[in-house]
């Protein structure tokens, strides 16, 4: 078939090479807007796994590429006057210019026509003369634009503002550098790519970039600024610009990776099809793997008919899209980490480094221990406050005031959990979620709780009031389903807004109601300490009463308990202060807090951090981070560890210990969360489940 490839970057050239090697020879033309020797960017990174793919796909170019590689196995983290080294991360890098030269030569040797300095504007006309059109022309792809109704691209800026420099300083490892300036924190992602030079990417949050005046600076002033900021690291070496400019990274996705222009099948490759934030260094790798997958799809389906070409393109997309989406998720997590890393500057170097290395969710405590056992041991020892024989973080004790927990795992039943937490326990009978919900408002309740304490050891009681989400049926067949009228009781809420279309309209609380509920919380907390509970947790989560004061979606009051976040916080804070005042000094107080409503117009994570700070100031020792459920139609994003980032934001933004839930299903996940300082305690789902699944 006749193949026209627009864009002579690594993806386009590599596809040309692989197709030219096919048994059934193709007529391949690569068109490039720039001259053959022009290139932007400095070095590109490959992992060991990628090298294996390149070796299998084209041995000749693999040999040449690996001949000139810079290789390293360490990541250095320069932070607060220390440099921590983590080993076992095998990577290689090559100058982008050198890589392109190798690929150009190899393509020429295989008979691929390469035309440089060609401005491609009429894609339709090019399509008329070819059997397959490939857009390998980067993030601003001209080919993609010619059929964007089918490709349906979306582009969202991610992470901070960054600039791609080179330097004549040759690093001996991948190197992260964090430097505090008067305007905020800057970081460098640096790695060597040959024996003369390294890539040196500078990044900071956009507000920091503006404060520093970098938006107004010339190219040379920018360089001077960065050279000054990183003078200690550069040690007299220079930063080199290659038309370098400050950018925001666009996360690009396409609904489809193939289309037709007139009748010609068109495929997108590499950055034209997808991007992944540079902080996971996978752009070139993904692009070249795309080329390998597309070439392999033609081997499988052939190319002698339009139907065969279509089948190959479908297979290519089916194979690559899930892989790319996983990288994009990891890259998004990584980009967001660097955008808020300035919240982490209070973390001790071992924890800071561990958080950095596990930022994208691809490396866990166990993975890292395999790569570098000494590094993880040092982190564990630091976590265990210097004990030379340190258990994994999940098994490290924690003390909150007078409560000593033997491990960091929280469950709902007696057994191995360091802390057992009760279900929502109502402070008044009218505050029950369902008729069967536990209460703590009578002497009989105290006796029941005392029995539970005897069984569990460390028991935390979650005290709350259901508010407008009360008088519902038990959870067997659904949640928030109102009781039939006959069995229901009147509900209280900040504002008379029913939860759902068939829910009861609650009564807006007046001053007497507020006082009664506050007193009930205090009385219940006192009963909890009588029963021997080690921890009292006040519920301000999931849309129940206190949480519904906090959220603008459910609190429409125009008195001092509504309006601004301060006003909406007033009642929950009052309850917390009153309870704190009534508790003995050695009993810690927690709050279960919805830190974002996950709903339009609702509480945001920033609001959640502000609320958590206010609670911490009021004497709260632990924030149990939850999210959503304020209104029936929210937009949660469920996955493993889906609350980890929010917990990180609260813990490190409000500087308060946190307990996180969010579907943590293994001890390894919990070790990772704890060692990284994303939380101090974790709900361990598996404690409530049988360990062995039967084979039937």
């Amino acid at each position: 078939m006749r193949v026209t490839i627009v864009g002579a970057g690594p993806a386009g050239l590599y596809l040309g090479i692989l197709l030219a090697k096919a048994e059934q020879p193709h007529e391949i033309t690569v068109l490039e807007r720039n001259p053959a020797d022009a290139t932007f960017g400095w070095g590109v990174v490959f992992s060991e796994e990628t090298l294996g793919s390149l070796r299998d796909a084209d041995y000749a170019s693999y040999l040449e590429i690996t001949d000139t590689f810079a290789r390293w196995d360490a990541i250095d983290i320069s932070y607060r006057d220390t440099v921590l080294r983590s080993r076992g991360h095998a990577f290689s890098a090559i100058a982008r210019k050198r890589l392109l030269a190798i690929l150009q030569r190899r393509a020429a040797e295989l008979g691929v026509k390469q035309r440089f300095d060609v401005e491609v504007d009429d894609i339709g006309a090019l399509c008329a003369d070819t059997d397959l059109m490939v857009g390998a022309d980067g993030v601003h792809s001209v080919v993609r634009q010619a059929a964007d109704g089918t490709f349906r691209p979306t582009s969202t800026p991610q992470g901070g503002t960054y600039i791609w420099y080179g330097t004549d300083l040759v690093f001996d490892a991948f190197r992260f550098v964090f430097a505090e300036s008067e305007h905020g924190l800057f970081q460098v992602h640096g790695y060597p790519f040959d024996e003369h030079a390294s890539t040196f990417i500078v990044e900071c949050p956009e507000p920091t970039w503006r404060k520093a005046g970098l938006d107004q600076m010339s190219e040379t002033d920018s360089i001077a600024f960065c050279e000054r900021l990183f003078a200690d690291e550069l040690n007299g070496h220079r930063l080199l610009s290659n038309k370098s400019a400050w950018l925001r990274f666009p996360l690009l996705r396409n609904r489809s990776w193939h289309a037709r222009i007139t009748d010609t099948p068109v495929a997108l490759l590499g950055d034209a099809a997808h991007t992944a934030h540079f902080t996971i260094g996978s752009g070139t790798k993904l692009a070249m793997e795309d080329a390998i997958a597309l070439a392999a799809a033609f081997v499988r389906h052939g190319s002698d008919s339009t139907a065969a070409i279509d089948a190959a393109l479908v297979q290519y997309e089916r194979e690559r899209k899930p892989v790319v989406e996983r990288f994009q998720q990891a890259a998004t997590d990584s980009a967001e980490y660097f955008a808020r890393v300035n919240q982490h500057t209070h973390l001790a170097p071992p924890q800071f480094a561990f958080n950095l290395l596990t930022r994208s969710g691809r490396i866990s405590h166990a993975n890292l221990a395999q790569r570098d056992a000494d590094f993880v041991r040092a982190v564990d020892v630091w976590f265990a406050a210097g004990h030379a024989v340190a258990p994994p973080p999940a098994f490290t004790p924690l003390t909150l005031r007078g409560l000593r927990l033997t491990n960091r795992m929280v469950g709902t039943a007696p057994g191995d959990a360091g802390l057992v937490l009760t279900p929502l326990t109502a402070v008044t009978p009218g505050g029950q979620v369902s008729p069967g919900s536990p209460t703590l408002c009578a002497d009989a309740d105290v006796a029941r709780l005392r029995a539970a304490v005897a069984e569990c050891g460390a028991l935390g009681v979650l005290l709350g009031h259901a508010g407008r989400k009360g008088a519902t049926r038990n959870r067997e067949r659904g949640v928030d389903i109102p009781l039939p009228d006959a069995g229901a009781w009147p509900l209280l809420a900040p504002s008379p807004l029913p939860f759902g279309p068939v829910s009861q309209t609650p009564k807006a609380m007046d001053a007497d109601d507020l006082a009664e509920v506050t007193d009930a919380f205090v009385a219940a907390a006192v009963r909890a300490t009588e029963a021997g509970c080690g921890l009292v947790m006040i519920d301000c989560g999931h849309g129940y009463l206190l949480a519904s004061f906090l959220s603008p979606l459910t609190n429409h009051r125009d008195d001092e308990y509504g309006g601004t976040l301060d006003g909406r916080l007033r009642f929950p804070l009052g309850v917390v202060r009153a309870v704190r005042a009534a508790l003995p000094d050695d009993v810690p107080l927690g709050v279960r807090l919805t830190v974002t409503d996950w709903a339009r117009g609702g509480l945001t994570a920033e609001d959640g951090v502000t609320a958590a700070s206010a609670f911490a100031e009021a004497g709260v020792d632990l924030v149990h981070v939850v999210a959503g459920q304020t209104v029936a139609e929210g937009t949660p994003e469920y996955r493993r560890g889906y609350l980890n980032t929010l917990s990180d934001q609260v813990r490190n933004g409000a500087r308060v210990p946190t307990l996180v839930d969010g579907h943590l299903t293994t001890v390894d996940e919990i070790n990772t969360v704890l060692a990284a300082g994303r939380a101090d305690l974790c709900v361990a789902e598996f404690l409530d489940q049988p360990a062995v699944r039967s084979a039937a």
Binding site: R152, G478, V479, R639
Partner: protein, 269 residues
């Protein structure tokens, strides 16, 4: 894991005679369920009507919508239809609900497409509030859909794809189930398309899928290419789903030919 089979209510040229004969054979075959699809603006037999017919000629097999597009009906009519099939089938009915994927179905029914999620939640709240007696599954792949499933459903109806796509959806469904404080685990149903026979049969199946999913643009090709057209492909698919914890895997026909169910029974029997 049980294997279910689709009733061909949306494949070209399906007749009452085909549906009832198909249902009889499903009832005596190695199948745990018999499921229908739902489309308004597409040549097809209405799902609750099709299941009513199937209920009349079956004794054992569980009937299911996989899924029905709830908001195309009013909440009261949906409840009436579901309760009717539930009674006609003597309780052998699983109501799978979702919002569907096609705007033209909403236009045809005069329903506000922008409110589809909220409408489905309202319908589910009413079904639960009125003590609808049967099993309810909820489909969809967005965060709100998983939350809706966990708030109102008994389980999750996956929309199709390779086993690893099912696995990723099942993880999210479990997370939502935990988040909403539901006891135990959600029921988990999956689905896939098949066409068994010669090349013409495979081609006809592919043509149907391309037509049925034409509204997705080039993605229709991807769905057509995933059609299971050999015994080996079906066995691999079944094994993959079983390994990921699926409890009921419904294999949906793409050709209106009663031989298809016999061929499928042979492969999985």
């Amino acid at each position: 894991m049980e294997i279910g089979v689709g009733l061909p209510n949306t494949t070209p040229g399906a007749t009452g005679a085909l549906l009832t004969e198909w249902a009889r054979r499903a009832d005596t075959g190695p199948f745990g369920s018999l499921a229908v699809l739902d489309r308004l603006a597409y040549d097809s037999i209405e799902p609750f009507a099709a299941l009513a017919a199937a209920a009349a000629v079956t004794d054992r097999i569980r009937l299911a919508t996989m899924i029905a597009i709830g908001p195309l009906r009013s909440a009261a009519l949906l409840a009436k239809q579901a309760e009717s099939v539930h009674r006609l089938a003597d309780g052998r009915f699983t109501l799978g609900l979702g919002i569907g994927a096609r705007r033209d179905d909403y236009t045809a029914s005069g329903t506000d497409h922008r409110r589809r999620g909220a409408l489905l939640s309202e319908q589910l709240a009413r079904l639960r509030g009125d003590d609808y007696p049967g099993e309810i599954l909820v489909g969809g792949s967005s965060g709100p859909a998983y939350a809706r499933m966990a708030r109102y459903g008994d389980g999750y109806a996956h929309g199709g794809g390779p086993p690893r796509a099912f696995a990723s959806a099942a993880t999210r469904a479990h997370a939502a189930w935990r988040d909403l404080g539901r006891p135990g685990r959600p029921r988990q149903w999956g689905q896939g398309y098949f066409a068994l026979g010669d090349d013409d049969t495979a081609r006809a199946g592919g043509d149907y899928l391309r037509d049925y999913y034409a509204f997705t643009g080039p993605f229709a090709e991807t769905i057509a290419s995933a059609n299971l057209t050999s015994g080996r492909a079906i066995k691999d698919f079944v094994r993959g789903y079983a390994a990921e914890g699926c409890e009921m895997l419904v294999l949906l026909p793409t050709v209106s030919d009663v031989d298809q169910i016999d061929r499928l029974a042979e492969v999985i029997g």
